[in-house]
Amino acid sequence: MKGNRFTYYIKEGIDSIFTHGFMSFASICIIVACLLIMGSFTLLALNVDEVIDTMESQNEIMAFVNETYTDEQARAIQERIEGLPNVDEAVFISREEAWDDFTATYGDPAAFEGLDASVARDRYVVYLEDISRMAETQQALRDVPGIANVRAHLEISEGFVKIRNVVTLVSMLLVAILFVISLFIMSNTVKLTTFERRDEIAIMKMVGATSSFIRWPFVVQGLILGLVGALLGYVMEWGIYRLLTEKLIAGSGLSFLTVIPFSQVALPILAAFGAVGLGVGVIGSLMAIKNYLKV
C-alpha cells in the first residue's frame, strides 16, 4: 500500500510538471536566475573575505621600545605583549636589525655616514588575531610599560573591515530577497496547478483523502522543479566562475588577487544550491496548497 502511494505521488507530481509545461519552465528559469545571483554574490563575498584575510595577515602594529631600555629589558617585554588580548604574535627586532634593514632598503650607504644603530629603537612587530580590534590593541600596547610609541595603520584596517561588512551585508540581503522571490514564483506555479485541479482536490477531500495525501504530489512537483533548477544553476555558476577567474582575471592584470578555486567551494556550493532549490520547491508548494486543505 505504501509503495502504491509513493508511486502515485511521484507519478502525479511528474504529470503535473508536464501538464503545466510553460509554468514549470518559467519556475526553473527563475530558480536558476536567483541561484546564479545568490551564488555569485556569495562567491564574491567569500573572495573578498579571502583577500582581506590575506591582507590582514600582512597588516601589523609596530611597537617601539623606550630607548633607555637595555637589550635585555626590551626583550623582557615580549611575554607581556603576547599576553595582551587579540595579539597573535610579537616579533622582537633589535635596533641593529632595524638599522640594517633600513639601510639595506634605502640603499646608498654614503647617506648614512656618521650614523649607527643607536639612532634606531628596539621594536616589536605585533600581529593581530582580529584586525577590526586594532585600535583597542593599539591602546593596550601603549599601556605596556617600556613601550614608548605605537604605530598602527588604523585607516587601512578600518577600510578592510568596512569593505567586508558591506559585501557581507549586501550578499546576505540579496540572498534573502532572492530566496523570497523564488519562493513566490514557485508558490504561484504550484498555485496555478492547484487552481486547475481544485475540483479534483475537492473530490479528494469529499471521499476522505487526508491532507498529506493531497499535499504530497504538489510537494513532489515543487521538489523536482527546485532540484532541476538547483542543478542547472550549479553547472552554470561553475562555468561562469571558471570563465571569470581563469580567463578574465588572469588576462587583465588582476592576477595578484587571491581567488578561491571553484573546486575548493564546489561541494558547499552544491549543497547550498540543493538546499535552496529544495527549500524553495517544497515551501513554495506547501504555501500554494495550504488554502485548499482547510476544509
Partner: protein
Amino acid sequence: MVQFTDVFKSYENGAKALRGVSFTIRDGEFAFLVGPSGSGKTTIIKLLTGEIAPTDGKVLVNDYDLGTIKFSRMPYMRRTLGVVFQDYRLIEDKSVYENVAFAMRVVGASNKEIRRRVPYVLELVGLDKRTKRKPQELSGGEQQRVAIARALVNNPRLIIADEPTGNLDPARSLEIMMLLQKINELGTTVLVVTHEKELVESFSKRVIAIDGGKIISDGMGGYYNYER
C-alpha cells in the same frame, strides 16, 4: 446513523440557517430531506459532510461528533459517507473506471482491491459496459450513475444525495431513485435531499421537511406540506 440534537447554525453575516433542528436517521433507513430554497437543506448537508461546524447543538454522524471532531480525524469520518451531487462532479479527463477507482486510490486502497471492487460497483449501477468512456461521452443519467458508483465504492455507511435528479428528465430521475433504493436495500443508509415533490411522493419513504431553518414535518408516506 445520523443524529441532530437541537442544532443551530448562524453564518458570519448573521444569517440564521438552522434554528433548533432535531432528527435521527437510523442505520439502514431511507429518508428524504425536502424544503424550498433557503430553507436550510444545504446547511444540513454541509454539517453532515463536515464542511462547517454547528453553532450550537450536537451533530452525530456514524459515531463521529462533528462539533468536537479533530481536523485530522475528518477524512476518516468522510470515508463513512458517500456524497452524490446534482452536478455530478466527475473528473473530466478520467474514464468512468478511473473516476471510481480514484475514490479508492485516495483512501489508500491497493491495486488488487481496486481491481476487485470497481467492476462490481460499476455493474451494480449498470455501467459495466462503459468503463472506458469519459464523462462527456455519457448522458446526464449515466454521469449521475458514475457519481453514485464513486460514492458507493468505499462501502460507506451513509449515502447523501444532494438533488441527485436536479439535472435529469423524469424517466432518468426515476431510474436514479430506483438505484438509490436498491443500494438502500443492500444495507446502506440513504438520505436524499430534494425539492421535487412528485418524485418524493412516488416513493413511500420517510420525509423530513424543513423550512425557515426548522423541521416542519417528519413522517412516512411522502407527506410534506410546504409550497413556495
